[in-house]
Amino acid sequence: MALIETTDLTYTYPGATKPSIQKLSITINKGDFVILTGPSGCGKTTLCRCFNGLIPHFYNGTLEGKIEVAGLNVAEHKIHELASHVGLVFQNPENQLFALSVEKDVAFGLENFALPRDKMRKQVDWALQMAGISELGDRPPHELSGGQQQRVAIASVLAMQPDIMIMDEPTSFLDPVGAQKIFEVINDLNKKLGITIILVEHRLDLAAKYANNVIVMDEGSVVLNGSPREIFTSEEARLIGVGIPKATRLYQHLKQHGVHLKTVPVTTEETANLLREALKHD
């Protein structure tokens, strides 16, 4: 079932001379785990702002074409109506956090939905725990490190249990172990709770194994759309400068030297298994 559908979506920021999104048509289905990638400035963040209605309602500008999210026409529905379906974790957590304690920040969205107190308590605790910051509940967000703030931003969206979670480089300030934990949390939300995930990410080596779909944008349009395996082996992806995971690159290097592994690996484990087989038999 299509949860997000855009048809010839074109958007121009107020005062800009050319559109940031151009005639973009995509479909994202319920339960998808999508990685949205492409050169910096290609329109990824702008597209995310269309998904939750910040565009056009907050940023204004000119929106043409059609965009439907959870069956709602974004242009005709307010941000708060979309908010119960779509949660957006900002690239820069400082732009998202504002309350005087972590707990209050995480509870803010739920308060706006007028949730009963005990249910709110439960969901806040759950979100804090999922994001690994239960012990930070009383701390002021602005005193936390960049990585901790990023977790608070994730928790505050998580608490709302939206149908769709959009995350704009949600782990960029986190150390690799912290990032891996967050990716696993995101993966659980997707696989166990069926939340549709749209992840904006450059570091595909970390995220590729969780995704079923990779969308590559360039200059405001979609240039590639397919499974991680298809994308990572395509010549176009290389040319646009998509960061192919090292595991896939090792496969490509071996292939150039006449060694053909059975399939194109995307993850560390797959590569190790394929190499083990090749080294044993051959």
């Binding site: 920021y13 800009a16 990638t37 492409g38 050169p39 910096s40 400035g41 963040t45 690239q91 820069n92 400082e94 005193e143 490190s145 960049g146 990585g147 901790q148 480089e169 960029s172 300030f173 986190l174 150390d175 690799p176 172990v177 912290g178 990032a179 891996q180 450059h202 570091r203 080596d205 400068g241 998509v242 960061g243 192919i244 995971p245 090292k246 595991a247 690159r249 090792l250 290097h253 071996l254 030297h257 060694v259 560390t268 484990e269 590569t271 190790a272 190499l275 083990r276 090749a278 080294l279 051959d282």
Partner: protein
């Protein structure tokens, strides 16, 4: 040369961020500071240009204690690029942003023009010279912040998480010009979580944990030690992870580079035939 001697730093909130750091960064060295969130990496490098002064111990830049020099004076030699570009940018156009420090340092107009041009070009942002930095994407703002520091050509360049928000191509460029700066005998200190970036540059690395230095050495030694990297809350580069999984087949485990990995595997496969 930058020296930290028994450097301790406690924030006004009582948080003890650095607990006795001893470290020397030589002229022309390329150093990466890695480790867990909250380990004290940013706090440490903020001492290198005097933004923070030690609570105990001292930091010497070219033999002079940072306590005895103003930040403004230190800045001429030590440029600092913040993790979050929004903490740094404030001008109305990209061009003004880059020219700002140059004007403060009293460079001549002609020099300023030339340096701005050079920096715009280097960071691939010439097309945005008349644009407000705040109209740009996260990755582009990061490059503006970098350009504004590189423009005045400091001897030491400190980069706090330079690869955040950068796509693959920009990262490769960043890597190239860091190596280029380094070849010009500039000192480059990078704070980063990006193991793949470090694996490709192979600089000297210090791993930090809880306000202390856990280990130091070349990237290929440190990042391939599973115990150490786990203690520092990082993960080995993907190539290393693959080789660690295959350790029982007698393959080396200290591999970080994809070309080296290819060579080792090809050798092994040939021997089998």
């Amino acid at each position: 040369m930058i020296e930290a001697k028994d450097l301790h730093f406690t924030y006004p909130t009582g948080l003890e961020a650095l607990k006795g750091i001893n470290l020397t960064v030589d002229d022309g060295e390329f150093l990466a500071v890695m480790g867990q969130n909250g380990a004290g990496k940013t706090t440490l490098v903020k001492h290198f240009n005097g933004l923070l002064k030690p609570t105990k111990g001292e930091v010497l830049v070219d033999g002079v204690s940072t306590r005895d020099v103003s930040v403004a004076k230190l800045a001429r030699n030590v440029g600092f690029v913040f993790q979050n570009p929004d903490h740094q940018l404030f001008s109305e156009t990209v061009e003004d942003e880059i020219a700002f420090a140059l004007k403060n340092f009293d460079f001549e107009e002609a020099v300023i023009e030339k340096q701005v041009e050079w920096a715009l070009n280097l960071l691939d942002i010439t097309q945005y010279r008349k644009t407000s930095p705040f109209m740009l994407s996260g990755g582009e703002r990061k490059r503006v912040a970098l350009a504004s520091i590189l423009a005045w050509d400091p001897q030491v360049i400190i980069l706090d998480e330079p690869t955040i928000g950068q796509d693959h191509q920009q990262k490769e460029k960043l890597q190239q010009f860091i190596l280029q700066l380094n070849a010009q005998k500039k000192t480059v200190v990078v704070v980063t979580h990006d193991v793949e970036f470090v694996a490709e540059c192979n600089p000297r690395v210090i791993l930090m944990s809880q306000g202390k230095i856990l280990a130091e050495g070349m990237a290929e030694k440190l990042l391939t030690n599973p115990k150490l990297v786990a203690q520092a809350s990082i993960v080995p580069p993907q190539i290393t992870q693959i080789f660690l999984e295959l350790a029982d087949l007698g393959l080396p485990t200290d591999v970080i580079d994809v070309h080296e990995a290819t060579k080792i595997l090809l050798d092994r496969l040939r021997k089998k035939q």
